[in-house]
Amino acid sequence: MQFKDYYQTLGVARGASAEDIKKAFRRLARKYHPDVSKEKDAEARMKEVNEAWNVLSDPGKRAAYDRLGAGFQSGQEFRPPPGWDAPFEFSSRGFSPGEEADFSDFFSEIFGRMGGMRGGARARAAGRGEDTRARVQLDIEDAFGGVTRQVSLRVPAAEASGRVSFRDRTLNVRIPKGVAAGQVIRLAGQGAPGAAGHPAGDLLLEVEFRPHPRYRVDGRDLLLTVPVAPWEAALGAVVPVHLPGGEVRVRVPEGAQSGGQLRLRGKGIPGEPPGDAIIELRVVQPPADTPRRRSLYETMAREFAFDPRKTGN
């Protein structure tokens, strides 16, 4: 296991005051805020910053870390001394057991066995286990047929000694057909274990869709752009359109314009009621790349006397 230099993570000196540490944390919390950050690895960086803050902002954890880590450099091979059990009182600084479970192995090795798990969240565990949450990323196509996905979780588990260990858990989850972005799937009894004789909590999975090269979603509606030739738009045509549920034939009405929308009722994400597929037409003209084609365009220019910038056209 590699030593983590939390002071380096926050960019402060080892002897930094609590006030300086707080300032450094807030500066970084703003920089890597997941909703606004433009940094590519913002989420991972924020996790590291949170972990460092969790330790350095708590006097007990900081003292334990300083004592253990004296003389270690970032990335150096590290093992806590045998029988390590810090005589310090730890708080979790507003971080939940679930969030602490998401911190590094280094963190859980030192602090996971200790007081970080005490407090309000634990006190309530006297009965039914807590509900926990996780995110699952799906492809848009998955919502059409239902799919089975592996979901990996890192869960805290209290041992009989009162220590807390973290373990990885993989669940095979059947995602029901018709799931929409932002929806929550409840897996009964898959949350945190309850106290003796009490049921476990539920696991709440939040659904996200990966960006798709052709489809976009808006609730249960499926949006896609379909290119059409100028004559198809002008004269009307039946064109094949590939949807996640299979290919359909769509009638393009006579006189359609680029940007015009066609709504296919019930062809969006399945559900009660199902969403619609909304097709945006994009007129694409062929290149005038041979003398014959040039002459056809020239004929059109003469015959139509068409100025698209004039109103009324």
Partner: protein, 102 residues
Amino acid sequence: MRDDDFLEGQLLEDAWLTLEQVAAACPVEPEWLLAHLDEGLFPQARSVAGVWRFSGAALVRARRMRRLERDFDAVPEMAALVADLLEEMDGLRARLRRAGLD
């Protein structure tokens, strides 16, 4: 892989989450949520016959507000204001995506 290795999920429709579920999923104390509800900081939550119902959007909002309060010591109204702005940004980003412009 045997068939019973798979878990069947139950799909929650909007406005299906209870106060306890939102609190546990954020995670926050239920009292924190109740105090913020009393202050009117959760416009998406609905009380039906005295029972609170939350949408998925309220879950995201609660998590954001809690983070702002925890990380920046933001007062609840300030956290709610930032959450309002982030929600507006979500809406605009969604419109950009729908227009294929993101």
